[in-house]
């Protein structure tokens, strides 16, 4: 391997995504603008206008539904396809997300988490992407701009190995419009890590014609679903291998689907996804100096869900404070719900409490982590939560 000399730049999360798409040598980008995603596709358009990319077709479309449709067409011909969207745009894409996953097309998309309207909001909230949970897409939640960049490049490799599309999720403004230091990988090394896509089948292989999206009768449909389910199971292993390879080549290891710290001596851990976990990490180090025996578990991949890793963490701690910047109405925070489901069959069941935080971009601070730590200490002493779901940020 050529020696790795990273190129360090100060870029926004959105520019990190655009550079990653460029370095992944995407061949087709079809997208429709929506705040706060727009600067991703603007940057890609700029790469094209400046002649910085070769062999990249940009398809302007009239809606997000068409954007995904165009990506599906492109991916079915064997091209590496990319798009980006947010909130209402992702919701409008919903039908096509099933088509992409069902047709086993390894499209990669960045979703900039934005609260669903009404009331109208442009700020961070995970409910838009989590509402796509059952479409068959993989989902990776980035903590910072570096993970946005690394995530997009790794996602193509994982997606093209298991033939399942992947969504890289970043926070509105907190990442999308925040400038931060990102280590980018020289093009020749990205090429080494991520060679051109080798599709199993393509629409344009006229010697081996295929049909995409054909009718499956009750005699066949069931097996198609089973195969997609098995592909997600296989993805768990592929994600670990690709994350490990990435770490060996570039020094940032992603072999853990749940990044964790201080689990072995922690009384309880904070669990959550995305940018808010950066603040949690900072706060955990601060609180540990004050004597709190706490750690954190940052869920990177929500689909496929890292069941085994979560059960292992649960076996070592007395409690888990689950932070959800999202909500499933009529139920509870979505990560909390998923985690409880996974731990039902675990031998060891920690005390769990769900904190609903930061919906619609309400700032989640170090002080919030401290208050939740104080509360969680009482929960563990008592052995059960006062309330299972705590609307922590509610104005009282």
């Amino acid at each position: 391997m050529t020696e790795y000399k990273p190129i360090r730049k100060v870029v926004s999360g959105n520019y990190a995504a655009a550079y990653a798409a460029k370095h992944a040598r995407v061949q087709v980008v079809a997208a429709y603008p929506i705040t706060p995603q727009t600067s991703i596709i603007e940057k890609i358009a700029e790469f094209i206008a400046n002649g910085e990319v070769e062999n990249l077709q940009y398809v302007p479309v009239e809606s997000e539904h068409s954007a995904m449709a165009a990506c599906i067409g492109a991916s079915a011909t064997g091209a590496r396809a990319f798009t980006a969207t947010s909130a209402q745009g992702l919701a409008l894409m919903h039908e096509m997300l099933h088509w992409a996953a069902g047709a086993r097309l390894p499209i990669v998309m960045v979703d900039v988490n934005r609260a669903m309207a009404p009331p109208w909001s442009v700020w961070d909230d995970q409910t838009d992407s989590l509402a796509q949970r059952d479409t068959g897409w993989m989902q990776f939640y980035a903590e910072n701009n570096q993970e946005v960049y690394d995530g997009v490049i790794m996602a193509f490799k994982v997606a093209e190995t298991v033939n399942v599309p992947a969504m890289i999720v970043e926070s509105a403004f907190i990442l999308s419009h925040t400038y931060d230091v990102v280590e980018m990988i020289p093009q020749e090394l990205v090429d080494e890590f991520l060679p051109p896509r080798k599709p199993l089948y393509t629409l344009t292989d006229f010697d081996n014609p295929i049909s995409v999206g054909a009718l499956a009768t009750p005699n066949d449909y069931y097996e198609f679903r089973y195969k997609l389910a098995k592909a997600h199971e296989e993805a768990v292993k592929v994600i670990k291998d690709v994350g490990n390879e990435f770490g060996e080549m570039f020094g940032r290891d992603y072999s853990e689907m749940i990044e964790k710290e201080h689990i072995d001596d922690a009384d309880f851990v904070f669990m959550g996804m995305g940018s808010l976990m950066g603040t949690v990490k900072e706060a955990v180090e601060l609180l540990r100096k004050e004597g709190y025996k706490i750690g954190y578990a940052k869920v990177r991949w929500f689909r496929p869900f890292p069941k085994e890793e979560l059960r292992e963490i649960a076996s070592k701690v007395n409690g888990i404070a689950v932070l959800d910047r999202n909500f499933s109405f009529g139920q509870e925070g979505i990560l909390f719900n998923e985690a409880k489901g996974v731990l039902y069959s675990a031998k060891s069941k920690p005390v769990m409490k769900n904190y609903i935080v930061g919906l619609g971009g309400r700032d989640f601070t170090v002080d919030d982590v401290r208050k939740i730590a104080e509360d969680m200490k009482k929960v563990i002493e008592k052995g059960e939560p006062d309330v299972e779901v705590d609307w922590y940020h509610l104005k009282r």
């Binding site: 100060v10 419009h177 925040t178 400038y179 940018s275 950066g278 603040t279 989640f364």
Partner: protein, 185 residues
């Protein structure tokens, strides 16, 4: 970690100032973070932007509530916004104004340890021909805080604005650097 909060009005370039300051510190080997207040910006409305500078990677992802340094791009904001809100003990305030130290101190709710005053609007009008103060004020930031060198600010400005525009803005920063009044209080 040093935390800086910029106050301006939509269209004055407070967000760009935060980014350029971050870029200047990055050039000196620091870890940085720069971001706007996550709001819906309108021309003329009060705008806030933030920069963090540290020796190690910055993980925290919240807005800045207790800044070490406050930078005010528009003097009229002193009448409507509490720019010193949360300012740390020993903090510095840098203001674009023609007014005297005494007049400004009357308007501040909290007395900073260090006050820096510069007529960035006058400098911008003279050098750029426009009342856009974001690059000039960064010269005052370099002078008053020593956080970054003037040259790093100028390089970061030229990186943001190409050609003659970059040169002019770098000149505005230099003029401000040389004409900032600094008061230890």
């Amino acid at each position: 970690m040093i935390e800086i909060r910029f106050h301006g009005r939509g269209g004055q370039g407070a967000v760009t100032a935060a980014n350029i300051l971050a870029s200047a510190a990055f050039r000196e080997g620091k870890y940085v973070q720069a971001f706007p207040f996550f709001g819906v910006e309108r021309r003329g409305a009060p705008v806030t932007a933030f920069t963090r500078i540290d020796e190690k990677p910055i993980r925290i992802k919240t807005q800045i509530y207790e800044p070490d340094i406050v930078v005010v791009l528009d003097p009229s904001l002193l009448d409507t916004v509490d720019v010193t809100a949360g300012l740390k003990e020993g903090g510095t305030v840098i203001i674009n104004t023609e007014k005297s130290k005494e007049e400004i101190l009357e308007k501040l709710k909290k007395k900073p340890a260090k006050l820096a005053l510069v007529d960035a609007t006058g400098i911008a009008l003279e050098v750029l021909g426009l009342p856009i103060t974001n690059t000039a004020i960064l010269g005052a930031v370099a002078k008053a805080t020593g956080l970054v060198k003037l040259e790093s600010v100028q390089d970061a400005i030229k990186d943001t604005f190409s050609g003659a525009l970059g040169e002019k803005n770098a000149k505005a920063a230099e003029e401000a650097f040389n004409n900032t009044g600094i008061y230890e209080l």
